[in-house]
Every structure is written in C-alpha cells, then in structure tokens.
C-alpha cells in the first residue's frame, strides 16, 4: 500500500491511496492514514482511483477515520473509486455515511456544499 498527501485547497487535504485495502494492506497503512487525516487539521478527501480492492477491513478503516474526523467537526469525502470497489462500498451503503464523489472537484464541491 502507498499513501501520499497533497493539499486540496485552503480547507482540505487529499490522501492518495494506492494498492489493496485488504487485511495486510490496512495493517500496513492504517496508522499513517489515520495520523495524516487527524493531523492535517482540515477536511479530508480520499483518492481511491488506484485502490484495486476493498474488503470489510478497508471499509472499517475508512469508517473509523471518518468518525474521528467527525468528532473534530471535520469531514471525509471519498472519490474516484474503481467500479468494482464502488460496488463493494455500495453493498455496505457506505455512501450513506461517507460521501462518495466521482472526482476531486466533485468531492470538493460536496465539502463546500
């Protein structure tokens, strides 16, 4: 798993995740992901375009981080999931609690809306 961080405007950071969000992938990345999200002091966009696989462990990581941000009055928005990943996110109705956008501009729009 790879994780990089980029600025996404004055109020948000973008966490760019690449690889598989399965059990070993989450074990590898979760601490860095959570620290990057919580430590940014901003809203968080998560770029999923290079995530090829998500399991329940990956969903758990996203929910846990989003809850921590929510407690600090900050939001998380996911964007650009691959089609099969999107299907898995829809299976657990993740978009009911964490918005999912098609691309970064749309994700920023959801933050600002």
């Amino acid at each position: 798993m790879q994780l990089t961080t980029a600025e996404a405007g004055p109020s948000a950071v973008c966490l760019i995740v690449a690889g598989r969000l399965d059990t070993p992938g989450v074990d590898e990345i979760e601490v860095r992901f959570t620290q990057a999200a919580r430590g940014s002091g901003k809203h968080v966009l998560v770029d999923l375009q290079n995530v090829s696989f998500v399991s329940s462990m990956g969903v758990r990581m996203l929910i846990s981080t989003a809850r921590a941000l929510h407690a600090a009055q900050r939001r998380m928005v996911l964007f650009a999931p691959q089609p099969l990943v999107r299907e898995m996110l829809d299976t657990v109705a993740l978009d009911q609690i964490i918005p999912v956008a098609s691309d970064q501009p749309a994700a920023l729009g959801l933050l600002e809306g």
Partner: protein
C-alpha cells in the same frame, strides 16, 4: 463435486506458518488461465479474505492452532470454494445481517464481512459435522 468439475485446487492454511496471503497467491495462480471475469476474480478474493480472516479471528482462541482446508473447483458456470475448519462452531447462515447505519455516529465498523460475502455469492451452504465447520460458497463465472 459434480462430474462436471473441470479443475480443482486443494490448500491448507496453517495458522502458525502460512496465512491468507499465501492462499490468495495460490488461488490467483490457479485461476489465471481460466478466463474468469474481473468481477468473479474480485468475488473469489473477497470470499477468501473475509472468511479466512473471520475464521482466524473468531474461530480459535489461538489463531496459530488454526488448520483450515480450502478446496476450490470450477464448474461450467461457477467457481466453488469449500472451507473446512476445526474451530468453534459457527453457522453464518443464521447470523442476522448487520443494521446499516444512517449516520457516522451510528456506524459500527464491524460485521460487514458476511454481508459482503452474501452479496457476491451465488450460493452458500453450511454444515457442521465431526467437529468441523464446512462452508461452501459458489461464485458465478458469468458475473
């Protein structure tokens, strides 16, 4: 296993020495030449990930003692995976589906693995006999 079975793979996951990643790699190697769709391959990997993780975490007081047999075979329309383990009795078919949250405050991160398996499987059967759990999951090859 029916007469129509075209090909099969037998593996054992040893909780002490080899884990789900080795199983996944072997299954990928086995399925590679068989022309499954991306959706079917994703579903196979998801079932392996979710069931093996669940069994290792909840089926044994000491995961290092786990011995899980994985039997995978191809029928014309399905990939079938049978898991056999000597862990604690567990029938996923009687587990109620999780209550999906409406808000982040309601969200509880666990319990989604079985939901995902049910979503991608074309059929699921479970038996327990001789002190072993036997779970069979079918995944459509045309998915």
């Amino acid at each position: 296993m029916s007469d129509a079975a075209l090909s099969h793979l037998d593996l054992e996951l040893d909780g002490q020495h080899s884990g789900p990643e080795r199983v996944r790699a072997e299954v990928q190697r086995f399925l590679g030449p068989h022309g499954l769709s991306e959706r079917s391959l994703y579903a196979v990997e998801l079932v392996l990930e979710e069931w093996l993780t669940n069994t290792l975490r909840h089926g044994y007081d000491d995961p290092a003692q786990a011995r899980i047999g994985i039997h995978l075979w191809l029928e014309p329309d399905e990939v079938l995976i049978r898991f056999e383990d000597d862990g604690k009795a567990f029938d996923p078919l009687v587990e109620p589906p999780p209550q999906l949250p409406n808000t982040l405050a309601d969200a509880r991160p666990g319990g989604l693995g079985l939901l995902m398996i049910r979503k991608v499987a074309s059929r699921i059967t479970h038996e327990r006999h001789s002190g072993r759990n036997h779970l069979t999951v079918g995944i459509s090859r045309g998915a």
